[in-house]
Amino acid sequence: MTELLRIDGLTKAYPGVVANDDVSFVIQEGEVHALLGENGAGKSTLVKMIYGLVRPDSGSMTLSGTAYHPTEPKAARASGVAMVFQHFSLFDALTVAENITLGMENAPHRRELSEQIRSVSNAYKLPLDPNRIIGDLSVGERQRVEIIRCLLQHPKLLIMDEPTSVLTPQEVDILFETLHKLSDEGTAILYISHKLEEIRTLCDHATILRHGKVVDNCVPAEKTARKLAEMMVGEALHVPAKKNLHPGEVILEVANLNVKSKNPFGTSLKDINLVVRSGEVVGIGGVAGNGQDELLLALSGETPTRRDMVQVSGVDVGDLNPNERRELGLLTAPEERLGHAAAPDMSLTENAMLTGNVRQKLSNGGFLRWASARGFARAIVQQFDVRTPGIGNSARSLSGGNLQKFVIGREVLQNPRVLVVNQPTWGVDAAAAAAIRQALMNLAEEGAAVVIVSQDLDELLEVSDRLAILNEGHLTHPEETAELSMDDIGLMMGGIESGSEATHVSA
């Protein structure tokens, strides 16, 4: 193997923080190289420097033996470096072909480009129609657009930032096949992911970043996922301990829940039945867009339903609003942290007040009780290890993981009887994710009923006592998690291209 990209002493500092400190490593031709690290370890800054979006303060890069210092993404693309973004860099109102043109240098003429898109998408088994509008595509298809855009430029190095966080297990398999094919053809891949099992199966080599420095490197297949996580965090990882629980009385009962989605691209819920008992964690898996958001809205009270469709401890709450439900002990934490779970430009204290008002009695006759609110916000910050300079800071100023801890902590500390959370650890690093899971399990242990909606099957298998799958608005019957295999879950997810076996290795 020959050396493709050598990174030598890259340093980039922002006011108050050194994002990358003297980072050096080498990527070989045709190698799948993992970049591991917690949130804020400096992975994004590093790949942005390789892709020319950010200029390093010092240090150098060498690509195929010649000095490489891209000043803008165009220069990087011209040198054979391509990137698939975590939050896709796509334009919803434009067609597939237009989106691909935008990311290419010297894009060929429309008709010729369509031909090229078809031939590349066939060669890599990623079917795609160049004339469709991005807004109508599924998340997996959107990622194909990004990948094909990169492939059309015959990159020497393909950077992928968290590519699988939005895919179904089957789509992950297809993606891995594509990546293997590319690496066989000599394309190097720089792969960023939080999913350690994936990295173990896919990557040849891993470089581990912590606080902006390279702290270690290894061959991932030779390490356990747990060992990799510990290398990232730099300390022994606390894996949530599962206790033997004895579920008590029924707290949350959902009966024949039918909800029409408010979103024209959404999925309506069809005849959902679910019973959750005290002391129990029920996981709801499935690919995003199969009714998760609608289910959460129906449970939280943002979408009112028929009175008897949702019950809390035998009381009909289907037509109650969120605050009335909070009073009865039904709390929820939606998926979107900024803008739904928290108001971005309001302080943590104000955000604590927004959902805590009813149960924590943070207002009196319409007047706010600031002292109590500050006390409540401080309690969340302390007990959930939210890293922030103070509770007067805006929600927007917190990193994703810290804000997620705050949002979950805010609900957990209100002592709910039922807590429903959607994607509690999305985009959160290993240590914070473990803390959040532990908090949810502790809550169940104390007698609450907990419902976790998540796309991360590993997470659901780890935390939940029973598991159901949401698919096109239908919910399967919840099964005991201990008795389920990955194959069973694949079958439950249904509606999937047949013949593709789950190569996922369970943790």
């Binding site: 693309r77 919803d92 935008l102």
Partner: protein, 326 residues
């Protein structure tokens, strides 16, 4: 009442003239909004263009007004150059106002709505100040398309083929903008920036620069629209003479669903009903004048609302502040 006093040929000819200022201003704003910027200062840019165009045109045509400039102005060239220099000056004046807006919103990240409103007020005040010496003057007349063979075609000739050149320039500009947005890479990039500025930045396009160019183009078009009022349609300078035309242009962009061809329809419809209701008033129709004055707004909004019933195509990043944070 005598409806026969209304001559359809004059009616159509004058509706085209009445619509051209709005069409020009709306076309500029369409490009700005396609790039994701909402500039509410169209009225201010229009009236600035109106006075710039008027002042330059009048001065070039009568060099005696500005003795200092006399050595520069060739007396033989001046008469036919004056209107065109006025138009160019108006475009520059409008673009100058737009540049202020672009600087504030794109580089100092000020709020687009507030800045646009301020630009309108500033433009009205600035033009009143600049225009003090020009009240009551008459600008040189604007050249007309006058090819005898064409003009003499019955009905069509006087209706469509005997207008000043700016009418045809405005229509060609609509064609050019439509072609640019739909068929060129530059147009695709501009639409992409308006659709999702974060993604455009990530791929490597300079969002701020592209938006500034669009804003300048929008200002130049608004300036042309304003100068068309003061040089062709009215033609003289009066304080506040745009009288809300800029706001109509803004509304047209939305109701035309950001489609250049629909702008022509909307502008001509608006101009048409305006002219028609004036004729009705002149003929003495028994409907109260207030209702007739209302008609152009009501009819234009109704028609365009019905037409924009299809999938709304507002640029997704419209009015959102872009800040490149790494």
């Amino acid at each position: 009442m005598d409806f026969s006093a209304i001559n359809p040929v004059t009616l159509i000819a004058s509706l085209i003239v009445a619509s051209t200022p709005i069409l020009l201003a709306a076309l500029g704003e369409l490009v700005v909004e396609k790039a994701g910027v909402l500039n509410l200062g169209v009225e201010g840019m229009m009236i600035t263009g109106a006075i710039f165009g008027f002042a330059i045109s009048v001065t070039v045509a009568n060099p005696s007004l500005a003795p200092g400039l006399q050595p520069w102005l060739d007396p033989w060239m001046s008469p036919w150059m004056a209107p065109w220099l006025g138009m160019i000056g108006a475009a520059i004046g409008g673009a100058f106002m737009a540049f202020l807006f672009g600087l504030l919103t794109q580089y100092f990240l000020s709020n687009q709505v507030a800045t646009g409103l301020a630009l309108t007020l500033f433009g009205l005040g600035l033009s009143a100040l600049l225009g003090q010496g020009y009240v009551g003057l008459k600008p040189p007349s604007f050249p007309k398309l006058d090819i005898p063979a064409l003009t003499e075609i019955p009905y069509i000739g006087p209706m469509l083929l005997n207008h000043d050149y700016m009418v045809y320039v405005s229509l060609l500009l609509v064609l050019a903008v439509w072609y640019f947005l739909k068929f060129t890479r530059g147009g695709l990039v501009l639409r992409a920036v308006g659709e999702n500025h974060d993604a455009a930045h990530a791929i490597g396009y300079n969002v701020t620069r592209i938006r500034l160019m669009a804003i300048l183009f929008g200002g130049a078009c608004a300036g042309l629209g304003g100068a068309y009022l003061s040089l062709v349609r009215v033609p003289q300078w009066t304080e506040g003479m745009t009288a809300g035309a800029g706001w109509i242009a803004l509304a047209l962009v939305v109701f035309a669903s950001w489609k250049p061809w629909r702008l022509i329809l909307g502008a001509y419809l608006f101009g048409g009903v305006t002219i028609l209701q004036l004729n009705f008033q002149a003929v003495g129709v028994t409907i109260p004048a207030a209702y007739l004055s209302m008609a152009p707004y009501v009819v234009t909004i109704l028609v365009l609302v019905i037409m924009s019933g299809d999938r709304s195509s507002a640029p997704a990043s419209l009015g959102r502040v872009f800040h490149a944070s790494h």
